[in-house]
Amino acid sequence: MTMELDEMKKLWTDMSAEREKQKLLTDQMVQNMTKSNYQSKLKKIRIPEIMGTTISIAAALYILMDMQQFNTWYLTGCGIISAIILVLLPFLSIRSVYRLQSVNISGVSYKETLLAYAKRKKEFVSVQKLAFILGALLVVVILPVMGKLIGGKDLFAESWLWIWYSIGFLFFSFYARYVFRHYMNSVSEAEVILKELE
């Protein structure tokens, strides 16, 4: 079935007129949609972010308070890096989600909103990439830290740690390739919009 442009406009006009006649919304339905108990999907920060931040900060504090247990320079180094990443990761995540969703919806035009979203999407993807790399680094450095704090062992002295690291790295490199391809798609979508708006 094909359709000419004029037919298309006529069909749209007829459909609009018909739809306007229908008046399906009731006062109650509109009021329900405006009530404060309606949880907006565009709400800025929600429970998963808050929980993630709490857990990360708690873990960072746990590491920092037990720093004296690290009796070698490399364990101390891993402890400090772990604590920094644990604080940085939720901060980056919340900030990027907030930035992406804090575009003013009512006071700006369609073009301005599209521009803002495309720019923030690119920024969001860069932060996500950074967070992904930091997350991978955290897995590497937190393992010996927790081994020492919980099990009292220096895992670097155990030869199997290196085997696990090697296997982990192999899986990580495949996963990273998949994740980065996904990020690249998001960025190119944003770039297409920016180019179209030029």
């Binding site: 069909l11 739809r19 919304l25 565009l42 969703q101």
Partner: protein
């Protein structure tokens, strides 16, 4: 209270407009419902700052189109969705099978356009002139004209394929 009543009236008068935007921008029936609620909610939030400086329909188009963009960019999470009466998303205008097919085709052609083009063509189909489209979208009138020409060409090509 009077403000509540005025708002409800505005929404009821423009329910078809919101419906069309949700259908163009959302892919599934569930997303349409969700976006519809989100648009009404965002309109409600910005209603106190609406001072009749522009036409009501201009204000609704702006907020609704911007909400649709924001909705497309949202992280997919499950939130509470109010049970909007299913009748709102039934498509009684599509009882006629041939018409139903044509309307489905019409929406699929519009959905195949880019996000920038969707907004412009939707306003053109709704009978807005270049100045009104420019006012809502933020493009200049001449730019709207150029873009519309290109979109129409693209649509013609699409529908004749």
């Amino acid at each position: 209270m009077q403000q509540d009543h005025a708002f409800v009236e505005i929404i009821r008068e423009n329910e078809a407009l919101i419906y069309k935007i949700t259908r163009v921008y959302a892919d599934t029936r569930e997303d349409e419902q969700d976006l519809y609620q989100e648009i009404v909610y965002q309109l409600w939030k910005s209603f106190p700052s609406f001072r009749n400086e522009s036409k009501v329909s201009t204000w609704i188009y702006r907020v609704a189109l911007n909400t649709a963009i924001a909705y497309l960019n949202k992280e997919k999470r499950k939130g509470m969705v109010l049970p909007i009466h299913e009748i709102l998303f039934n498509r009684p205008e599509e009882r006629d099978v041939v018409k139903e097919e044509q309307i489905g085709l019409l929406y699929s052609h519009i959905k195949a356009l880019s996000i920038v083009e969707k907004g412009i063509i939707l306003l053109w189909l709704d009978g807005k002139n270049y100045e009104e489209i420019a006012d809502i979208t933020g493009f200049s009138s001449s730019n709207v004209g150029t873009r519309l020409g290109r979109i129409k060409q693209k649509l013609s090509h699409q529908i004749n394929q």
